[in-house]
């Protein structure tokens, strides 16, 4: 039975055959590996400043703007922030900002800082939309900036980049259990595909345990932003930070459970980018303590 769906088990992870199993499991999907004609850059920037929040976790907006500028400049290789933003967004775009509202919400200050940067390059205020939530919202956008906060998730292992578009599927519950491996397919939906110009992860105060509700014992001031244009590479870097933080907390390996199968599937099944750490160029700037990379 060539189309019989294989179940993923713990043994697939131990054997290192998860990619093959996922491929078999999703055999027949029309956007299987290689459907993206041009591979995105796998450069990921990690910019941190320990002063971006005070002891009370209030954000210093000026410091936040500074690390945002640095992130976008380093990512694009342009001389300054204005040129950098202009490389990825044009004044004619209708830009959707896709922040996260649940579990570990994106800081409002980051959303505001991005809005200011976009207006600074000439995008009218009325064409900067908050686009999280429904297909209708994303359809009217010509460009998307994904703004998830860094967090683990109890059903999908990690709930940061790939999961940030789950509502655009129109059926979020269809991505539970083994189907969480299919989160990458949402990025290929016609109203989403090709629109994401930047993934900017709010790693100011991440959550490293899966929840399902936020437990403050597992949040910590990483005080950084993680940026890239390859969603899988950014997610892979996020995953490494979470795994290393968990290991540091317990003093022994504390793997995410269930494992985040969506990341490898996004690479090997959906061709959205690379999940191989050795193929990702991480450019780090700023505060080095407890970088976890």
């Amino acid at each position: 039975m060539p189309n019989k769906r294989r179940l993923i088990t713990r043994r697939d992870f131990i054997r290192g055959t998860i990619g093959a199993t996922l491929g078999t499991s999703m055999f027949g999907v029309r956007w299987a590996v290689g459907s993206e004609k041009s591979a995105p850059s796998s450069l990921v920037t990690v910019v941190r400043d320990k002063d971006v929040m005070n002891a009370g976790l209030d954000v210093d907006f000026k410091v936040l703007q500074k690390i945002l500028d640095q992130s976008i400049v380093q990512l694009t290789g342009r001389k300054n922030s204005k040129e950098a933003w202009s490389k990825i967004i044009t004044p004619d775009d209708t830009v959707g900002l896709v922040s996260t509202g649940h579990l570990n919400p994106t800081h409002d200050e980051l959303v505001y800082a991005v809005k200011i940067a976009l207006m600074d390059i000439g995008v009218p205020k009325n064409r900067i939309k908050m686009a999280q939530g429904s297909s209708r919202k994303v359809k009217r956008c010509t460009a998307l900036i994904s703004l998830p906060a860094l967090k683990a998730h109890w059903l999908t292992g990690i709930g940061t980049v790939l999961k940030n578009y789950i509502m655009y599927s129109g059926s979020p519950s269809a991505y539970h259990d083994q189907n969480s491996a299919k989160l990458g397919e949402i990025w290929h939906l016609p109203h989403v595909k090709g629109k994401t110009k930047l993934i900017l992860v709010d790693a100011l105060y991440p959550l490293c345990d899966k929840g399902p509700q936020a437990d403050p014992r597992y949040k910590w001031p990483y005080s950084g932003l993680i940026a890239g244009t390859d969603p899988v590479a950014v997610e892979t870097v996020c995953l490494r930070i979470i795994e290393e933080k968990r290991r540091a907390l317990r003093g022994e390996p504390w793997p995410l459970s269930p494992p985040p199968i969506c990341v490898e599937a996004a690479d090997k099944v959906y061709g959205l980018g690379t999940s191989r750490m050795e193929k990702i160029k991480i450019a780090h700037f700023g505060w080095k303590q407890d970088l976890l990379l």
């Binding site: 179940l7 993923i8 088990t9 713990r10 043994r11 992870f13 131990i14 054997r15 009370g56 976790l57 649940h102 579990l103 998730h153 109890w154 059903l155 979020p172 539970h176 259990d177 083994q178 969480s180 345990d209 899966k210 929840g211 399902p212 509700q213 437990d215 403050p216 014992r217 949040k219 022994e252 793997p255 459970s257 269930p258 494992p259 199968i261």
Partner: protein, 309 residues
């Protein structure tokens, strides 16, 4: 059965609650907490009452009262994480029952969040910003919630867990988890995204690791014990598990009388052993050798006989 209504204080410190709670049931739990609702539905959930204590110059304190069908279900929710500072609401020093594997723990606090198991109630009291004042308010609310409520013992099923197995294996009682759903199992110990052990609300299960120390080197095995509604369901579940998890072990599979030797298998991460005992199934994973797997399974059998299970 008459249910005693909790009478939370209207004000505590600088915080004040609304007159009535927001009431959540299984029909609208996802509106309240998105996918997190799956956790509570994975136990026998009745309803949730939510109060938000607000103050002018302070962040809020959120009180969530999860009313469960049984004390075991509420215990299960607490058992998902034994971390944090143990809290006793009794005026006298906390008693540790000899029968308790979890040190009679009823409440745990850390970084602004208090989690409480009180009879059939599981509650979370969270200060969004921890200060000395908010911690005091959170603990006072916890004490009020737990006051005059029964304190049933931990689930009977935990008695199956030996504290020691042989000379080597020690129970990690800070990792004991009690549950009824494969979603929760996977958050404790991942087997498969699918429900390969046929878990549901009619089943109850306990998982815990056992460690063996040799100098600084630690070996860990994972033990899992499930009680089904009857023997037939237990056998069906084990068959399903075997077909899914051990698909290469097809020879002789399906016979109703699996021999002892067929219950132990060398797989990628060590030896796996299982055995069915009437309505119960015991499984052990990641054993360093067949003897360890066999010893652990046999110790469980001994415990079952001892406890009359």
């Amino acid at each position: 059965m008459k249910v005693r209504k909790l009478n939370l204080p209207k004000t505590i410190g600088v915080w004040t609650r609304p007159d009535a709670p927001r009431v959540i049931d299984s029909g609208n739990i996802f509106e309240y907490m998105n996918g997190a609702g799956e956790l509570y539905l994975a136990y026998r959930f009745k309803h949730l009452e939510v109060y938000e204590y607000k103050a002018d110059d302070e962040t809020s304190i959120l009180v969530e009262l999860y009313y469960m069908e049984t004390s075991d279900d509420a215990f299960g929710l607490l058992s998902l994480d034994w971390g944090g500072e143990r809290v006793s609401f009794s005026d006298s020093p906390a008693k540790t029952s000899n029968q308790s594997l979890t040190s009679s723990t009823r409440a745990l606090y850390g970084a602004g969040l208090l989690r409480v198991w009180s009879d059939n109630l599981y509650c979370r009291v969270m200060a969004f910003r921890e200060t000395p004042a908010s911690k005091q308010a959170v603990l006072t609310l916890g004490k009020t919630i737990a006051a005059n409520r029964k304190s049933p013992p931990e689930p009977e099923l935990l008695k199956i867990l030996p504290i020691d197995i042989g000379m080597d294996w020690k129970l990690r009682n800070d990792r004991i988890g009690y549950f009824r759903s494969h979603l929760v199992l996977n958050s404790l110990y991942y087997l498969s995204h699918q429900n390969i052990l046929n878990l549901d609300l009619s089943t109850e299960a306990v998982a815990a690791p056992y460690d063996s120390m040799d100098g600084k080197d630690r070996t860990r095995v994972q033990f899992l014990f499930v009680r089904y509604a009857d023997s037939r369901q237990a056998q069906q579940a084990l068959d399903h598990f075997h077909k899914t998890y051990l698909p290469e072990q097809k020879k002789n599979f399906g016979t109703s009388s699996m021999t002892e030797s067929q219950s132990y298998f060398k797989i990628e991460d060590g030896w796996l052993g299982y055995k069915v005992y009437g309505p119960c199934v015991a499984l052990v994973f990641e054993c360093p050798d067949e003897n360890s797997a066999r010893m652990i399974i046999e110790q469980i059998q001994f415990n079952l006989l001892r406890t009359g299970g």
